[in-house]
């Protein structure tokens, strides 16, 4: 699990790469996401382009980050889902609460419209 973080137009873009699964990867990812939400504007783009596999503990990280941003009137949106990650989101119907983008510019732009 590798995590990078950059900020653009007050939006935090976080790139995860590797397997977002139970154990060290999920612990790390949760910590990083909550730190970023805490410190910033709670406007988060989560780039999952290089996440090859995710399990339900990965989903719980996404959901807890979503809740954390919403308490600050922000949001988490998802960018570039791989096929297995997209299937997981659809199976659990979480596309109802996460906006999903295929372009980073559009994902960042989405926060301006609000």
């Amino acid at each position: 699990m590798q995590i990078t973080h950059r900020t653009q137009d007050n939006v935090d873009v976080i790139d995860f790469s590797g397997r977002l699964v139970m154990g060290a990867p999920v612990t790390e990812a949760r910590k990083k996401l909550l730190e970023v939400v805490e410190a910033g504007q709670a406007q988060v783009v989560l780039n999952l382009a290089d996440v090859t596999f995710m399990d339900s503990s990965g989903l719980s990280v996404l959901v807890s980050a979503l809740k954390a941003t919403r308490t600050k009137n922000g949001d988490v949106v998802l960018l570039n889902l791989t096929v297995p990650v997209h299937s997981l989101i659809k199976l659990t119907r979480l596309q109802q609460v996460f906006k999903i983008f295929e372009s980073e510019a559009a994902a960042i732009e989405s926060f301006k419209e609000q």
Partner: protein, 143 residues
């Protein structure tokens, strides 16, 4: 019928070893890529549950997975000697976790999707305990 058994200790860092072996074995079947992703997800959730719930997060306990490749389906039998669970937890309809109220995100469950995902991706799932050994059996028919 081709058959192989795997054993790991209940350490989260070993889970991916099992799931990658399962993925490799799926290459001997006619499963589509999407179905293989589903099988890999099911086995990940099932092994995670054993570590987290049956062994209460303790490492160094044994977990066995036996994979049989039949002509028209594969079965995976996952066994552990932890506390196990009531089979009713699996038999119950677990789809309520997908009934989401988009306007009330704060009430969204953070967990509770594992058994649902196992049932959603596999064709047959059952669970039984025998003399302290608990076994989750999962079957997937080829496309």
């Amino acid at each position: 019928m081709k058959k192989l058994s795997l054993k790991i200790n209940s350490d989260t860092e070993n889970v991916e070893l099992v799931t990658e072996c399962v993925r490799a074995l799926c290459l001997f079947t006619s499963l589509s890529q999407a179905s293989v992703d589903g099988v890999q997800l099911a086995v990940t959730e099932a092994v995670n549950n054993v570590i987290l719930h049956s062994y209460k997060g303790e490492s160094s306990h044994p977990i066995w997975l036996t994979i049989s490749l039949q002509d028209e389906y594969l079965t995976m039998s996952l066994s552990d000697t932890g506390v196990g669970m009531e089979p009713i937890l699996l038999q119950a309809d677990r789809s309520s976790v997908t009934e989401i109220e988009p306007d009330d995100v704060m009430r969204l469950d953070e967990g509770g999707r594992g058994l649902f995902l196992i049932k959603a991706t596999m064709d047959k799932v059952n669970y039984h305990s025998d003399g302290g050994t608990h076994t989750l059996q999962m079957t997937k028919y080829f496309d």
